[in-house]
Homo-oligomer: 340 residues x 2
C-alpha cells in the first residue's frame, strides 16, 4: 500500500500567484494518484482560478482560506510578526499540525525561511536551516547547499550541511554513501580560509563519504553527489551560473538571427538545440528544499512558470515519500551518540 | 613618438613551457612593432625552440638565461626561498631593475604572487595584491577582482580592489568614471555579511562611481564595469563559470553527434556555432593582472595555448601603454590626502 502525501501550497506566492500555483497543482494531481493538495490563499481568488482551469474541489484537492499575502519585497521580520494569516504562514502551520506532509511556496525567501524556522523549529542537532538544490552535471546531477540561507557559517554548520545533503541524496536516490565535496579554491588541504579548513577536518571524521576539497568547476563536472559551501559562496555560484547560462543562450540566439543564412541554419538545427535546451532547462531543477526543519518546506523560484512549479511540488512529494527528515534525524542521533 | 614596451616572458612556465611561450612571443612581435620581448629561461632550451620556430634574436627579441624552473605544484614559499635563479623570479627581477616594463608568466600562481610581492613590493596605500581579469558580458566586458589572491579580506581591502579595478578600466578604456559593483547576495543594503556591508559604506564614500550591491548574474549581464569581491568568492565564481561553460559545450556536442541527422544539422550550423564560440572563447580573456604591485605582472592560465598566451602578452603591453600603475598611484594619493 502506498501512502497518500498531502502538500500544502502557498497559492498566493511568487510573481504569478494563483495563475501558476493552481495550474501546477491540477497537473501534479493528474499525474500522481498518491498526491493530495491543499491550496492555501484568499478563498475567492483561489476558487475563481480553479474554476477557470476546470479544476474540481474533491477529497484530493481542497482550498484552505488565508486572508493575507506576503509581498515579494516585504521585510521577513515584519511579515512574520504582522501577517499571521498569510498564505505562506498558514501553509506552514498545516505542516506543523500534521494536516499536510510538506509545503511549497514561491514567495519571499527570507520570510519563508524565518517563518518556517519559527513555526516548525529545527531538527535535533541542526543549528541552521540550509537551502539545497539540485543542479545538472555532465554525469547527472548534484545537490548544492547552502544556497543563501546563511552568510556566515562556522565549521560545525558546514559539517551539518554535509550531513543533511548526504542524507537527502541517500534518501532520494536510495544510495548508501553519497560523496560529499567541500567547495574551496584549490584541492590541496592547505588551501582556503580557516573556516573551510576546519570544516574539512570535521567532515573527514564524520563517517560521511567525504571526497575532500573541490573547486567551482567540479560542481558541473559532477565530481561529488553533494557540494557543501556557505550561503554567500553558494548563492554567488548559483546566480553567476544563471547569468552565464542566460548570456550564452542570448548570444546563441543572436548568432542564429544574424542573417537569412544563419536563420536557415537555425531552423535545421532547431530540434538539436531544443534537445540540448531541455537538458539544461533550469525549470527542471526548480524547487530548493529548506533542510534542517521539522517538516518538508520547498521554495520555488519566484518567477517559476507552471512547468517549473510542478517540479517544486514533485520535489516536496519525493522528500516525504523517501523519508528525508527521518534519515537526517537518525544520522544526527548516531553522530551525537558517537560524541557522547 | 610611441614608446617601446619591453615584456619579460617567463618562457619555462605553464603546462606547455617554451612550445607555447616562444611561439606566442614571435606572433606578438610580428603584430606589434612597439613591442620588445625578453625570453627568460634555460638558454639552450629557449634558443632551440626559437630556432625550430624560425624566430630571430635581434634588438626586439633577446634571451635572458635563468637556470631554474618553478614547478606547477611547488610550494610558493619554498620556490621563493630556494629558486633564486628561476625563470619566473628572473623575469620579475627584470621588471624591478627597469630592464623590462612588465612580465608575463603561465607558471604557478602562488609562487608568482609571492615572488612578485617580495621583489616588487606594493604600491603606496595598497595592502594586498589582487588578481583581476576580464570576463565577457552581454554588453561587452567587465573586470572582476579579486579572483583568488586573498581568501580573507577586510572592508578596506575590498575598497582598495574597487579603486584598483576602476583605475584599470579607466586607464585601459580611457573613461572617466567606470562603475563599480560589490558582489553580494541581494541588492538591498541590508543584505550580506558584515565585511561586505562595511565595504559598501567605504565604497559609497570613496569618490568612485559606486553602483552598489550586485548579484552573481550581474557579472555576465554587464551591470557594472568592475566587480569587487573577495578572492574566495571570486575564484569560486570564475571556476564555476568555467565548469558550466564546459558542460554546456560538451552537451551541445553530444546532441549534435547523436545520429546522422543531427550530425548533418551540425554541419549546417557549424559556421554559426563557430561565430558563437569565438565570442565566448576563454582564450580571448586569458591574462589576469596582479594589481597593486610596483610593476605590471600578468598571469596566464597554466594550460594556455599559443593564442591564449598571446592575449596575456598583449594584456601586459596594454597596461604599460596606458599607465595603469600611475593611475592607481595617483588615485591612492588623492584619497590619502582627503583622509589626512
Amino acid at each position: 500500500m502506498t501512502k497518500n502525501i498531502t502538500v500544502a501550497i502557498d497559492a498566493m506566492g511568487g510573481d504569478h500567484g494563483v495563475k501558476v500555483t493552481v495550474a501546477a497543482a491540477i497537473k501534479c494531481l493528474a499525474r500522481d494518484p498518491d498526491l493530495h493538495v491543499i491550496l492555501v490563499g484568499v478563498e475567492d481568488v483561489v476558487r475563481t482560478q480553479l474554476r477557470t482551469l476546470r479544476g474540481i474541489e474533491d477529497a484530493r484537492l481542497r482550498i484552505h482560506h488565508a486572508s493575507e499575502v506576503v509581498g515579494m519585497d516585504e521585510s521577513p521580520a515584519l511579515a512574520m510578526r504582522n501577517k499571521k494569516d498569510s498564505s505562506m504562514r498558514v501553509a506552514i502551520n498545516l505542516v506543523k499540525s500534521g494536516e499536510a506532509d510538506a509545503c511549497v511556496s514561491a514567495g519571499n525567501t527570507g520570510a519563508l525561511m524565518a517563518t518556517a524556522r519559527f513555526v516548525l523549529k529545527m531538527l535535533p542537532g541542526i543549528e541552521r536551516p540550509a537551502i539545497a538544490s539540485e543542479l545538472p552535471t555532465i554525469k547527472g546531477r548534484t545537490f548544492v547547499l547552502d544556497l543563501g540561507a546563511n552568510v556566515d557559517c562556522t565549521p560545525e554548520h558546514l559539517l551539518q550541511f554535509g550531513i543533511m545533503g548526504a542524507m537527502l541524496v541517500s534518501a532520494l536516490e536510495r544510495r548508501d554513501a553519497p560523496s560529499v565535496g567541500l567547495l574551496n579554491i584549490g584541492e590541496e588541504e592547505i588551501k582556503g580560509n580557516e573556516i573551510v579548513k576546519q570544516a574539512a577536518e570535521l567532515l573527514r571524521h564524520s563517517g560521511l563519504n567525504f571526497y575532500g576539497n573541490i573547486e567551482g568547476d567540479d560542481i558541473y563536472k559532477g565530481t561529488t553527489d553533494v557540494v557543501v559551501c556557505d550561503g554567500f559562496v553558494g548563492n554567488v555560484a548559483l546566480k553567476t551560473s544563471e547569468g552565464l547560462a542566460k548570456m550564452i543562450s542570448t548570444m546563441l540566439r543572436e548568432e542564429f538571427n544574424r542573417n537569412i543564412l544563419t536563420k536557415l541554419a537555425g531552423l535545421v538545427a532547431l530540434p538539436v538545440l531544443k534537445a540540448f535546451k531541455k537538458r539544461v532547462d533550469p525549470r527542471r531543477y526548480n524547487g530548493a528544499t529548506l533542510l534542517g526543519l521539522r517538516g518538508v518546506v520547498v521554495k520555488s523560484h519566484g518567477g517559476a512558470d507552471r512547468y517549473a512549479f510542478e517540479h517544486a511540488i514533485r520535489q516536496a512529494a519525493r522528500e516525504v515519500k523517501n523519508n528525508v527528515q527521518q534519515r537526517i534525524t537518525e544520522k544526527m542521533a548516531v553522530l551525537h551518540k558517537d560524541v557522547a
